[in-house]
């Protein structure tokens, strides 16, 4: 049962803090989103800048970059994903413990970017793993990465714990592991995960 906003403020003035389990739970989750420490290309330099003193990602509770996927909550795909690297990226994502989130940082991670027509460039990491926030830019500025983190925090805040739209780790039927593509003789096999990335319909 949600408490009315006005009543909550009124009680707060009296020194009584009222909240719901969902709000408390999501507040805890969104305030300590630990990113995984890995960079793929030049976007990683901007990601590093975001964590340093001038932009200070620590203000949003995401300062602890974990070098192990087991301890990380968020994966920042910072740069071009080559077809040689893509299976490793998907494998790292599978190794992360739930709850886990993905930020696709920059044009390359979204779509392949300027290297899109390269024979060895994956045209967007969202072909294999679900992406929560896309940031355009080549590379995006640190402010954009902070904006993406804030957007992700808003998304976490809005997730109900039960019913429709609950996060994947609270849904026993949801897909938890994502198939790692194999490196075939000519290309990755399969070329996309249909469950995650249905081929978009282009309306002419």
């Amino acid at each position: 049962m949600a408490v009315e906003e006005g009543l909550k403020i009124e009680l707060g003035k009296q020194g009584v803090f009222v909240t719901s389990l969902q709000e408390l739970y999501n507040w805890g989750r969104r305030s300590s989103v630990w990113p995984m420490q890995f960079g793929l290309a030049c976007c990683a330099i901007e990601m590093i800048a975001t964590t340093m003193a001038r932009y200070d990602m620590a203000r949003f509770g995401a300062e602890i970059f974990r070098p192990s996927p087991r301890q990380a909550d968020m994966m920042i795909i910072s740069g071009t994903v080559t077809k040689k690297m893509a299976p490793q990226v998907v494998r790292l994502y599978n190794q992360m413990a739930e709850p886990k989130y993905v930020i696709a940082m920059g044009a390359c991670a979204i779509s392949g970017g300027p290297f899109k027509q390269g024979y060895n460039v994956l045209k967007g990491i969202d072909r294999y793993i679900p992406v929560d926030v896309h940031i355009p830019g080549c590379p995006p500025r640190p402010e954009a990465l902070l904006q993406a983190l804030i957007t992700l925090q808003k998304k976490i805040d809005g997730q109900p714990l039960t019913g429709e739209g609950r996060p994947r780790f609270l849904d026993a039927d949801a897909q938890g592991e994502f198939p790692v593509p194999a490196q075939g003789e000519h290309d990755l096999e399969p070329t996309s995960n249909v469950g995650v990335w249905p081929v978009p319909l282009v309306v002419k």
């Binding site: 024979y119 060895n120 490196q183 003789e185 000519h186 290309d187 070329t191 081929v199 978009p200």
Partner: protein, 237 residues
């Protein structure tokens, strides 16, 4: 520094039967190169490195080049004897006809080495080696034993062009994965068909995307192989 002709004569004096040829560069840079034969290449390279006058101790760069089969059309004037009826009398008349002859010049793969001397502060001396063809006889002698800096670049050429460097200490693919079968920098490489979705397609990409969407079967090498497999199983039944 010595000119290419002087280097050539120095090589021929030091390594008998080297068979070095000069390939002139008509451009303004005038960087002429030496075409080495595959058999004597190691000896020539060793000489270039160890000769006190040349002392080419620094290999800066190794490149691969793919020269595909070239169809050459030549117009040749042929004179023939033709039987013609002139004024009711059959006569043999010489007639000159222009004919177009087509011949295919076989392609080859080429490795280009740029050499400098740190000691003498001169360069570049450019070496070229050519394979017999670009299908099965693609071996070249590796110059990694002479210049260590050739190691990764020869691996890259092996990966992207498919030249097999005999005598290379560790010839594996360096950029693509081990199970990869193609050589992406070759002129006849068929790119994977990645054109199912193009949000801002234009030019060549738009053409490829439309081609992908128009046909039931894609244009990529994967689709071609799938089609081939389908017909093979269809024939089996």
């Amino acid at each position: 520094m010595k000119t290419v002709e002087e280097i050539k004569s120095a090589i021929e004096a030091a390594v008998p039967g080297a068979g070095v040829e000069i390939l002139l560069n008509p451009g303004p840079s005038g960087q002429h190169s030496l075409v080495l034969r595959r058999e004597g290449a190691i000896e020539v390279a060793t000489f270039l490195r160890d000769d006190p006058e040349l002392a080419l101790d620094f290999l800066s760069n190794v490149s691969g080049v793919d020269w595909p089969d070239k169809e050459i059309a030549e117009k040749v004037k042929v004179t023939r004897q033709v039987v013609k009826t002139v004024d009711g009398v059959e006569q043999t008349v010489d007639e000159t006809v222009e004919e177009t002859h087509k011949r295919v010049e076989p392609g080859y793969l080429e490795a280009v080495y740029h050499l400098y001397s740190m000691e003498k502060k001169h360069g570049p001396v450019i070496l070229r080696m050519r394979t017999v063809n670009r299908i099965d006889k693609v071996e070249l002698p590796s110059l990694t034993p002479i210049w260590r800096s050739a190691e990764f670049q020869e691996r890259e050429i092996f990966d992207l062009y498919g030249i097999v460097f005999t005598g290379h200490p560790d010839l594996r693919r360096i950029l693509m994965w081990d199970g990869f079968k193609d050589h992406p920098m070759r002129r006849d490489y068929v790119e994977p068909d990645d054109f199912e979705y193009e949000p801002t397609a234009h030019d060549e990409v738009l053409a490829r995307a439309q081609e992908h969407k128009s046909g039931e079967q894609g244009t990529g090498i994967r689709d071609q192989e799938a089609a081939k497999a389908a017909t093979a199983t269809g024939a089996g039944q």
